[in-house]
């Protein structure tokens, strides 16, 4: 089951560049939350702070607190433990090119030392079914490379790979921006199904996409969160003038 995320006074820097300033918000459990805003506004940095991927860059720095469920991720746990509980799907599909489809899905477990073949088989099947890829790949799970799939299939493979480690939260950083409309709509259907089991945070440049998949939407601008509310309210009656300007296409 998914858990809620409580962000308090979050600040982030890349070197001397203050990319996130005083972010406070509550992301509800088992819902999809969309983050919109122009390029460079800090929304990708924000999701990377939620699983401590931010700090893989040596010049990056973070202050403030992020609580995922009962866990303060910057106080109570190591980055590798957080990342097993908070899965991530990236903008470009990035399956491991040397691995089969099966090994790609199993990689998170295998690389962390899990070896029980029977259980692995079950988890791989379940994850591929959850990511709506099973029927397309079940016949050559171990024969074909993950890199031999189409772009849309690769992205669903990456979602299956993230689901296989059984996270509570799924972060998606523009998961459909490199895909065609058909693949995009498959990913969106998937987000709809997955949010009953996971808390989903999705960064998107596509405002229609935010409106279609998310209950809550946050608007970021220049490293600050301008407005956070129900998606319906953001897109029909935003409280802030800047949000209105952005969603009506006046800038960005």
């Amino acid at each position: 089951m998914g858990v809620g995320i409580e962000v308090t006074n979050l600040n982030a820097w890349y070197g001397s560049n203050h990319t996130l300033q005083d972010i406070n918000l509550h992301i509800p459990a088992n819902h999809a939350t969309a983050l919109i805003g122009p390029s460079g506004c800090g929304k990708s940095t924000f999701v990377r702070c939620l699983n401590r991927m931010h700090e893989t860059n040596p010049i990056a720095r973070v202050t403030g607190s992020v609580r995922i469920g009962d866990l303060d991720i910057y106080e109570d746990a190591k980055p590798v433990e957080i990342r097993r509980r908070v899965g991530m799907v990236f903008q470009r599909p990035n399956p491991f090119p040397t691995m089969s489809i099966y090994d790609n899905v199993a990689s998170g477990l295998k690389l962390n030392g899990f070896r029980n073949r029977r259980v692995l088989d079950e988890i791989v099947e379940k994850s591929l079914k959850n990511s709506a890829l099973w029927d397309e790949v079940k016949d050559d799970l171990k024969k074909k490379s993950g890199a031999s799939l189409s772009g849309g299939q690769q992205q669903r493979l990456c979602i299956a790979r993230a689901l296989a480690v059984d996270p509570e939260v799924l972060l998606m950083d523009e998961p459909a921006s490199a895909l065609d409309p058909v693949s995009t709509s498959k990913i969106e259907d998937l987000i709809f199904q997955l949010k009953s089991q996971y808390t989903i945070v999705i960064v998107t440049h596509n405002m229609q996409q935010a409106a279609r998949v998310a209950e809550k939407t946050g608007f970021f601008l220049n490293g600050r969160m301008v407005e956070f509310d129900s998606t319906h309210k953001i897109f029909t009656n935003p409280s802030d003038k800047r949000t209105e300007d952005y969603i009506t296409g006046r800038f960005g």
Partner: protein, 296 residues
């Protein structure tokens, strides 16, 4: 009017296209030509002296007909095995450090600089240095060192392999897309595990090519062996004794005044090249099996 101009432009483009394609083909031929020329010439000069004795007998004393280079073939194999056992793990380990763990540190920069300098050191200098460090009698209190031996020859060749293996490993690791590393880290895989199981594995075809390049380079080295392995006219497979090697044998035979030995030197050169090609092809074949369809 406009149309005419366009068709003239099209013609110019077509001509340019053909010219550049022709240049590329010419360059390809020039690259391949020396290899083919060497091979053909070696076959012409050496093939007639090849027979079963060449692969099964040791050299005969001066004046006697026949004899072979069996001891040199086996000796080269042993020397290269020792060299690879030293050069490949140290080189790959160093390359991983440069690309992954030490990137940007002062230590990494000085290792990279050292490797580049070491790569440019002439092999004769490497041989003299190896002689001074591990062959000359002052360290004979250590087991197996302090005298001419197969081990010291292997060490000298192994040291020569390190910089090539190290730098190509680094280059190949840096070519692995950042997205692949992020994918592994995002799954909660510890960094060291991600490096070994994902990054190195993804780069492994290139790393193997680097090892093969280094292997082929030292397989033909003569100078460092003169001061270390020394050469041997008799059977020896001991790491503790001087050992024969194909390049050494070719060198000794080629500068001798005897026609019979000249012919054997040609045959030896042919065998050396064929064996290197076979070894490289074998490694490529073995390591390419199990690669999945559609992997790019």
């Amino acid at each position: 009017m406009v149309k005419q101009k366009t068709s003239a432009q099209t013609r110019i483009r077509a001509v340019t296209d053909h010219a550049v394609t022709g240049l590329a083909i010419a360059a390809t031929v020039l690259v391949i030509a020396p290899l083919v020329a060497i091979f053909v010439y070696l076959i012409l000069r050496g093939a007639s002296s090849l027979n079963l004795d060449f692969f099964t007998k040791i050299p005969k004393p001066v004046g006697e007909k026949g004899g072979g280079m069996a001891n040199a073939i086996v000796g080269s194999g042993i020397l290269l095995a020792v060299a690879s056992a030293i050069g490949v793990p140290i080189g790959i380990g160093g390359g991983i450090f440069l690309a992954e763990f030490g990137r940007g540190t002062r230590l990494a920069n000085s290792i990279r600089f050292t490797a580049d300098v070491l790569n440019g050191v002439p092999s004769i200098v490497m041989g003299v240095a190896a002689y001074a460090l591990i062959v000359s009698p002052h360290i004979s209190f250590l087991p197996m060192l302090g005298h001419f031996s197969a081990l010291s020859g292997g060490v000298a060749l192994g040291i020569m392999m390190i910089p090539t293996v190290c730098r190509t490993t680094e280059e190949m690791l840096l070519m692995v897309p950042h997205a692949i590393r992020e994918a592994a880290l995002g799954l909660g895989v510890p960094n060291w595990r991600s490096v070994l199981s994902i990054t190195v594995k993804t780069a492994s075809p290139g790393i193997i090519t680097g090892c093969m390049l280094a292997f082929a380079r030292v397989a033909g080295e003569t100078a460092p062996l003169i001061f270390t392995a020394l050469g041997n006219s008799f059977w020896s497979t001991s790491l503790n004794e001087p050992i024969a090697a194909l390049p050494l044998q070719i060198y000794v035979y080629a500068i001798s005044p005897y026609d019979e030995w000249h012919r054997l030197a040609w045959a030896g050169a042919l065998v050396l090249i064929v064996l290197i090609v076979l070894a490289v092809s074998l490694v490529r074949y073995v390591t390419s099996r199990g690669v999945l369809k559609g992997a790019s």
